[in-house]
């Protein structure tokens, strides 16, 4: 590693950490230079999160040293010292929703603001918070409960808070996972401005594109080991993926499944003049057997709400949804399920998995009526169904009995996909099917969608992720609740992003 004459803001050398029998980090190193944006990538389980915990002083490594600006790291108990050296925006929100924005900013140091000793001066806290929020152009009243902020505002709040301790080194763990395209652009703008001011970043992301966009150096971990550190410029995408996966193959070119959908294919899903309560209006579309249709849109464009309406999670104001020619009772999930709709929800933790229950139970949650009669669920039948689905989706687990919470994100998402397929649906509705999963799992999940289409199912993918949309035969683009464009297969990234951001001028029709 090249820290010849510049003192790195943070460096870890020879760090090893074991949790019981598992080695989470095996003699790894990392060096972040001042004003550098350093990417840390690796598949799930590569040891990224453990390294973050070591670098932020939450856990003590079994071996190895951490230094900040050349000085040895403070003892693990001295939280204040750690916070003045390294700031971290964790993947999980550390904003307390029930407290005010101002109090969140000065959490556990409310009494250091203003000139009162010991007692908290709420006036000073609110004034200082307002100033800090102003600097970050977060346009909210510091007195409102933080739970009322948007995801983007919360995240900016976290960055603002982290930096207010005076650290010049910031760790961002999956900062873009919950942001839409415009939010990511604004985040990157902020990061660049901070970087120009001398702040260094450790940037952890599943999105390789973002790394090319914002980072100068990339470090790859694989299976708890350090694999590669190299400048981003001049590193080919394939080489990076190879370093991550260990395979020479890299990300398979997606969207190459059997050519055009036959003209005579039956129309399995027909949505007509569907209008949501406020999210979207007058959307019509059709999906034929064997076809994959993408619905693209930024957060708030109404695409997710449209998907949730089709599967009955939301009740539309007007319009109809027909599956295989028959209208489905609106606003009813059971009706959609029995009509032959399989569904993968947006947020697997909140809307999908029952964490403590087994993989088998999670996979067969929607099809218990088929596993026995009169409400009785046959365990052997459940196991057969679950095992078959696990094989079909390549779920990596010790067996169908394993609790689903023990799986990695990618495998959990495969379980969700398996549940969507468990009922052998005619129509598949998938909302952001690859959110927060690693490259390999993403490839596998999208492959499953292609295979399902090849079996003659109709698939609707609602996503703002370009890789997800690439498998679609055509993509319907929504902007502010309206269909603004339809792009046939073969679109360029620029074209698609422009359409999602509402820059597309020639709006084509909304369906056929």
């Amino acid at each position: 590693m090249s820290a010849d004459d510049i003192t790195p803001v943070a460096s870890a050398t020879g760090v090893t950490k074991r949790f019981g029998a598992t080695v989470a980090l095996d003699d790894v190193g990392l060096t972040v230079l001042p004003a550098e944006s350093h990417a840390l990538v690796g598949r799930n389980g590569a040891g990224k999160s453990t390294l973050v915990s070591v670098l932020t002083g939450l856990i003590r490594p079994d071996a190895g040293t951490v230094r900040f600006a050349g000085e040895p790291a403070p003892p693990v108990t001295d939280r204040a010292a750690w916070r003045s050296r390294v700031a971290c925006v964790y993947q999980k929100s550390t904003i307390i929703p029930t407290l005010s924005v101002a109090e969140n900013l000065y959490l556990n140091r409310q009494d250091t603001v203003g000139d009162t000793r010991g007692r908290i001066s709420w006036k000073a806290v609110h004034e200082n918070a307002a100033r800090l929020l102003g600097n970050w152009s977060i346009d909210v009243d510091p007195k409102v409960e933080a739970g009322r902020l948007t995801v983007e505002q919360r995240q900016t709040l976290e960055i603002a808070r982290a930096l207010s301790f005076g650290a010049r080194f910031v760790i961002l763990d999956e900062p873009t996972a919950q942001l839409d395209g415009a939010g990511i652009a604004r985040l990157f703008e902020r990061l660049r401005a901070l970087q120009a001011g001398g702040v260094a970043f450790l940037f952890i992301s599943h999105h390789l594109q973002e790394i090319y966009e914002i980072c100068q150096t990339v470090t790859v971990y694989r299976d708890a080991k350090h694999v590669l550190t190299a400048p981003v410029a001049g590193l080919r995408r394939e080489a990076l993926i190879e370093a991550m996966t260990g395979d020479a193959t890299g990300l398979r070119e997606l969207g190459e499944h059997a050519g055009a959908v036959p003209a005579g294919a039956a129309e399995l899903l027909r949505v007509e003049h569907l209008t949501g309560t406020s999210e979207f209006a007058d959307v019509s579309l059709t999906v034929r057997a064997g076809e994959i249709v993408g619905v693209a849109g930024a957060v708030g464009a109404g695409a997710v709400a449209l998907g949730e309406t089709v599967v009955g999670l939301r009740k539309p104001l007007s319009g109809t949804v027909c599956v295989a020619g028959r209208p489905v009772r609106p606003g009813s999930v059971p009706a959609a399920l029995s009509a032959g709709v399989g569904f993968l929800p947006e947020d697997r933790h909140r809307q999908g998995l029952v964490p403590l229950r087994s993989i088998a139970e999670n996979l067969t949650l929607t099809v218990t009526d088929r596993l026995g009669r009169f409400g009785f669920v046959s365990q052997p039948a459940r196991y057969r169904t679950a095992t078959a689905l696990m094989e079909r989706l390549d779920v990596k687990a010790s067996g169908p009995d394993q609790p689903v919470s023990a799986l990695s994100g990618g495998n959990q998402q495969k379980v969700m996909m398996g549940r969507a397929l468990a009922s052998e649906p005619r129509v598949l509705v998938l909302i952001r099917p690859t959110a927060g999963v690693d490259v390999k799992s993403k490839e596998s999940l999208l492959g499953t969608v292609e295979a399902a289409a090849a079996e003659g199912r109709a698939a609707l993918i609602v996503s703002d992720e370009l890789d997800d949309l690439r498998v679609a035969d055509r993509v319907i683009v929504m902007f502010k609740g309206r269909v603004v464009a339809q792009l046939p297969r073969g679109w360029s990234d620029r074209e698609m992003v422009a359409a999602i951001e509402g820059l597309h001028s020639e709006g084509t029709d909304s369906g056929e």
Binding site: S93, L99, L107, V140, T150, A182, V304, V333, Q351
Partner: protein
């Protein structure tokens, strides 16, 4: 489960650049929650005034407040625990078992109806009682933070065990020959008002100030709101929780002391069934069962409102047999009202 998600998460159109204008009204409503029982209390006073001319007199109102004192100390403790995101059911048993244990240790083995051990001097009764409370809190706190057993079940077990301990030691009878020091606080008067009123008022004042204006008090809200986030902010969550559990049980023991003074003996059923009223008072006072929300002032208004209801019913000559029914219905109504004034779904 899935149906509910929709209501909570209606999407909002994100305007690029600046987002969401300040919501002044919301701030105001959130503040209002702490005072939402004030009009209710006003209404109760009005109803009482209409029902009987003897209601709105200094004497009666002092009586009502004094009847609040013992319960209010439990509510204060429980409110702190609830704000920190935990719960403790065993407080009601501590009310009885702490004085009984203390009395048992100091009352001589011979000479009275109740045979104690007489191993400790009489003057130590009150400190001993508080210490026993702290010890019970320490056990509950350690179990909640270190062993991590579900607080509901654990403290339910403690409730039963401690009640059993009291019955075992006292033989199921009330204890009349209690040391004078144990009776002092509950029946003496300072500056013309019951001492218990001053004591409770002072404790509530300290509690309200600490939870409102001091970092350590605010940390309860942080822990109850998001324990993981509190930990990353450098709050020693386990230590804070342990202290809160110990404080709450100590307050429960103090509540027991006041009760003994108030009624002159250690009743065999002292504290029994209080926990329902404790929770009811805390919740209608705006303390969230999910943690992170509420205030001690709100909890106090909850206790006062509950006692006023009972008092008004007495004046209205509602047969005492109907007290519980009316009490329950009013609590339920208060919950429905607070559900909508707070706008917070309680799942």
């Amino acid at each position: 489960m899935t149906d509910r998600v929709v209501e909570q998460d209606s999407p909002q159109v994100v305007v690029p650049g600046r987002v969401a204008p300040p919501r002044g009204r919301r701030v105001w409503v959130a503040r209002l929650r702490d005072f939402s029982l004030i009009p209710v209390i006003g209404l109760l006073l009005l109803v009482g005034f209409i029902v009987s001319p003897n209601f709105l007199t200094a004497g009666n109102l002092t009586d009502v407040l004094q009847q609040c004192t013992e319960l209010s100390l439990l509510v204060l403790g429980e409110a702190m625990i609830l704000i920190a995101g935990r719960m403790d059911l065993s407080l009601e048993s501590t009310v009885g078992v702490a004085p009984v244990l203390a009395a048992w240790l100091v009352i001589p083995a011979h000479g009275g109806r109740f045979a104690g051990l007489g191993v400790l001097p009489t003057w130590s009764t009150v400190p001993l009682c508080l210490l026993i409370g702290a010890l019970i809190g320490l056990i509950n706190g350690l179990v909640a933070t270190k062993i991590r057993i579900n607080a509901f079940i654990w403290t339910l077990g403690m409730l039963i065990a401690l009640r059993g301990l009291q019955l075992g030691i006292s033989g199921g009878a009330s204890i009349f020959e209690v040391p004078a020091s144990l009776r002092y606080l509950g029946h003496t008067a300072w500056f013309g008002q019951p001492a218990s009123l001053w004591v409770c008022g002072l404790i509530f004042l300290v509690g309200i100030v600490t939870l409102g204006w001091f970092r350590h008090g605010r940390s309860l809200y942080a822990i109850g709101g998001n324990a993981e986030a509190a930990r990353t902010a450098g709050i020693r969550t386990d230590r804070v929780l342990l202290i809160v559990f110990m404080l709450a049980s100590t307050l429960a023991a103090l509540g027991g002391i006041l009760y003994v003074g108030h009624y002159g003996s250690i009743s065999a059923t002292q504290g029994q069934g209080w926990i329902f009223q404790v929770f009811a008072a805390a919740v209608i006072g705006g303390v969230s069962l999910n943690g992170g929300r509420g205030s001690l002032f709100g909890a106090l208004t909850g206790v006062v409102a509950l006692q006023l209801i009972i008092n008004v019913l007495t004046f209205a000559h509602v047969p005492p047999a109907w007290d519980q029914m009316v009490d329950g219905v009013i609590i339920l109504m208060a919950l429905v009202v607070s559900r909508f004034t707070s706008g917070e779904a309680q799942d």
